[in-house]
């Protein structure tokens, strides 16, 4: 134990009362995200990278692409792994050491969205079936933890993937001077909701996360399919609430997808 993840009753009651009135601590509407700033390509040592700022939350995603053996049960698929580190830099509550529950859940939720969409054309990254494939590492480095790490990590990861450049291989599988983008099929976008009392709001802040009863992350892909979901928190959602969140996720997913595409186009990445 170093610090306690605590919110005072006074601050909690204030947030709960505001929610009843349809308001939020930082003046946002229930369906309103904090400002998203994406900075792709800032880590030159990585094949792809993106620093995502969602409000004050900062997540840096780095993509490294190696070569390796495929899994025996998927000889015709590339390998992709997602890892998240809640490093002690990012919060007084994070400790160093092996990944704990929260960072493993975070990595797996982000991973599922990308894997199931699927974002990456995994078969096309096979070099020699059953023997050699590309191995894509998605590493999420949390720099400042101020609420909604799920969505900040998702934005950082998919923007990094979409701007990753890897060497083209020659016929023997050796890298050439030429670069190519990763074969991307989709851009999965997650949308995280907090249920506070009877209200549901998107993109919870750090204080809202401390008071929420339940949390729901819905990831959707370009065609409006849901590709991953994760419920968290100690309370429950009704079916109506879930269908409503899904509808909102599809709408928000479209907007974020456009933001990412526009940015990539504008910067010529």
């Amino acid at each position: 134990m170093t610090e306690v993840d605590l919110i005072s009753h006074i601050e909690r009651d204030y947030i709960l009362n505001l929610a009843k009135k349809g308001e939020r601590e930082d003046g946002r509407g229930f369906d309103e995200y904090r400002k998203l700033i994406l900075q792709p390509g800032i880590i030159k040592k990585a094949e792809g990278s993106c620093l995502a700022n969602l409000g004050e939350t900062k997540v840096l995603a780095g993509i490294k692409v190696n070569k390796g053996e495929p899994f025996p049960d998927t000889p015709d698929q590339a390998v992709m792994t997602t890892n998240a580190e809640l490093i002690p830099l990012a919060s007084p509550l994070f400790e160093s050491g092996p990944p704990k529950e929260d960072s493993i859940e975070l990595a797996r939720v982000v991973d599922r969205g990308i894997r199931e969409a699927p974002a990456l054309d995994m078969p096309s990254l096979v070099i020699k079936e059953g023997e050699l494939v590309r191995v894509v590492f998605i590493d999420l480095h949390i720099l400042d933890s101020d609420g909604n790490l799920f969505d900040a990590s998702n934005r950082a990861a998919v923007t990094a993937l979409r701007t990753t450049k890897i060497p083209v291989l020659d016929e023997e599988g050796n890298p050439t001077e030429d670069l190519m983008p990763l074969p991307m099929l989709k851009t999965p976008v997650s949308c995280t909701f907090a249920k506070i009392g009877e209200n549901i709001l998107v993109d919870p802040s750090q204080n809202e996360e401390k008071v929420l009863d339940a949390r729901l992350t819905v990831t959707t892909e370009d065609n409006g399919y849901i590709c991953a979901m994760q419920k968290g928190g100690d309370s429950q959602f009704t079916v109506d609430e879930i269908t409503d969140c899904v509808k909102k996720s599809i709408k928000i997913g479209k907007e974020i997808r456009k933001t990412i595409s526009d940015l990539i186009k504008k910067e010529g990445l």
């Binding site: 040592k45 780095g62 890892n83 590493d139 720099l143 400042d144």
Partner: protein, 236 residues
């Protein structure tokens, strides 16, 4: 590969020239104090937490605060992906970093507590420990922790027969020797000293003089970054 020719180094610098250094203060919201340094290709964040209560209890000191330093590299910070988590190198760097900062921090003001210095290297290319120490002392000051001085740090080394300042990647990999140093400008004391490779006593003297010049420049940048952060408050 020729690392130095007619006094000009492989990356175009002169013998006594530092790479470009940019320091920002107060870049992380959650931390009690923070700093970000870009130094050539190096990109380093530092967050300071504390002084706060130390657990487990038996680690506490009744006469001073414990300074805990953690140096960590992001897996994507280097060409070949590094496995996440601490390795022997980062544990050693954490230790010498603590030794570099400890002499200036007035730990005696906060007995029984801990001050955490977390150094995250998100991009690495020669000289990350010096960049980390340079950023860490600024982040400590930003956290309002009393200290005797800031701690600038940089390396010198030997390439061919020349003594040079602030080694780049090629010089680090293929040069004769590497000498990372941290200095306490007020006293002229040296609080980080490591070396690997070969060097004569005379060359060491020359290298230390060069480092002193480099640290002076870095010290000015540290002070400037801190003043800029707080003068900026004026315009909020």
């Amino acid at each position: 590969m020729e690392l130095i020719k007619d006094g000009i180094r492989i990356d175009g610098r002169k013998k006594d020239e530092l790479r470009d250094i940019k320091i920002e203060v107060g870049v992380l919201k959650r931390a009690d104090g923070s700093a970000y340094v870009e130094w050539g290709m190096n990109k380093v964040y530092v967050a300071v937490y504390g002084p706060r209560e130390l657990f487990p209890r038996f680690l506490r000191r009744s006469d001073k605060a414990v300074l805990q330093c953690k140096y960590n590299m992001a897996s994507f910070s280097v060409d070949d992906r590094k496995r996440p988590g601490p390795d022997r190198r980062s544990v050693e760097i954490s230790k010498v970093t603590r030794g570099a900062l400890e002499p200036v921090v007035l730990t005696e003001n906060f007995p029984e507590s801990v001050i955490n210095v977390n150094i995250e290297v998100v991009q690495a290319e020669a000289g990350t420990r010096c960049a980390g120490i340079t950023a860490a002392s600024v982040a400590l000051a930003d956290a309002g922790i009393p200290m005797k001085d800031l701690v600038p740090s940089c390396a010198a080394g030997k390439v061919g027969s020349e003594i040079i300042l602030d080694l780049c990647k090629e010089e680090d990999n293929f040069g004769e020797s590497d000498l990372p140093i941290a200095m306490i400008p007020r006293t002229g004391g040296i609080s980080l000293l490591q070396m690997d490779g070969l060097m004569t006593a005379e060359e060491l003297e020359e290298a230390l003089n060069l480092v002193k010049k480099g640290c002076k420049i870095i010290y000015e940048k540290q002070k400037e970054a801190l003043r800029k952060r707080y003068k900026g408050d004026d315009h909020d």
